[in-house]
Assembly symmetry: D2
Homo-oligomer: 145 residues x 4
């Protein structure tokens, strides 16, 4: 599980005075960015290698609102790893009291520059295995998504 800390930006709050529900989805993405930096294969490097991760599914549940200028933490877990994709789960918490604000999941598939689904780069799976960052400590077998 990887933690990413930051403050809520002013423009992320809407006229209800709370962070707009779509903004949290971009925070999940920054959780994934932090995850890939943590395993030593940053997503920017993966893109430079000609591969990308395309989102196929997003789900989020909103528990409590985040407010402008609050410090929040995005906790990111790799919940499932397959030959051509993966699933992450997320929790967004208020830093000061650890209150759960939003939870969610995303599913992604590995694609090349033309958008064709391809096996994940070996580097990706090796780095994840080395970092022991798959939940439960084991990597799922070569079951196609």
């Amino acid at each position: 599980m990887i933690e990413e800390h930051f403050r809520v930006r002013y423009h992320e709050a809407d006229q209800m005075g709370a962070v707009h529900h779509a903004a949290y989805i971009t925070w999940f993405e920054e959780g994934r960015s932090a995850f890939t930096r943590a395993i030593g294969y940053p997503y920017a490097a993966m893109e430079a290698d000609g591969m990308a991760l395309a989102i196929t599914d997003v789900a989020a549940r909103y528990h409590q609102p985040a407010r402008y200028d609050e410090e929040v933490i995005v906790f990111t877990c790799l919940a499932e790893l397959r030959s051509r994709g993966m699933m992450f789960t997320y929790e967004v918490r208020r830093a000061v009291d650890n209150t759960l604000l939003v939870s969610g999941t995303t599913k992604l598939v590995s694609v090349d520059r033309q958008g064709t689904v391809k096996r994940l780069p070996d580097a990706w799976r090796e780095k994840v295995a080395a970092a022991s960052l798959i939940d439960g400590g084991s990597v799922a077998g070569e079951v196609g998504l």
Copy 2:
């Protein structure tokens, strides 16, 4: 079912050359805006009356990417109406060939200015009933969400 047509904006596409997955969530919201205008109780009027709809759950599935400048259509259905909330379903389609790009759902609860969950304004349910815009033609009973 309500249709909302518009073109993909330049800044909505990311460096993969397709609309960023969080942007579609804001399109769902514009689908709801169009829905509330269609029933004659625009969401802006509901807010002026001191009530709001807070998102509790979002889910989206991504089928095909939307591209900059394409005309898209957001189809919005009220799938479930309860005393203190509702569920909408959405389909985003490419206008030129009706290809399904993204499908999704959102659940919302009715809240007052303090964020306390409250019964939906009568105006809301009366307008929906008058417009026959609930899927299947019937409005669910007074079952609390």
Copy 3:
């Protein structure tokens, strides 16, 4: 001068209850998109041809706030056309009463896929000339930006 009409989206307003100042900058961009469609050389086609317009300068003055769900009009003028760039001016007005909300300018240069400044495609200047859409009716000479 080209007009583009649309409604203010919910997420574009911030917790002051007015459209966030950065959102108008994206509206200027949609004004440009409409301009390029109007001359018959849509920006998407220019990108497909391997050329792009990179922003070098933006300026905006905020007169009155736009509000959620209001219909607004973006008026876009090509104020200056040079061999390797151009300047646009914009006015955002509230549709119902023509009130000026925001005015602004952007300067852009023509770049290839590597980001190197290049002469504007001939198609661009021919289409603009044919459409008589340069302000004052004349196109500036081949003075480098």
Copy 4:
């Protein structure tokens, strides 16, 4: 001068592969947020006190593109302080080599909850004076904006 460090988020880059020009405008805003925290009167506290700063003018010049995942620094200076407003200047630099990416200015006026221009709260000017954060070390006189 106040420094704010962060990494470029994935969704901030557009399909040219560089940060979209409107995103930097939101970074300027986070520079201001950091400035107000540094003087001990965070903007969130000012809003809680019933006052806000409304943007009247923005200008930005784009020198070099920022890219996804790069660490950037926003340098924020209070360039002018008046009785009812102020001007900030900004520089966005790439952290790794200090390259200037974007420079800009914003002018703001102090408004109450109804949007009426009002004198800046005394707290604001006292905190700025105490922090010696006005450029050149002196605060401009009581000249109305």
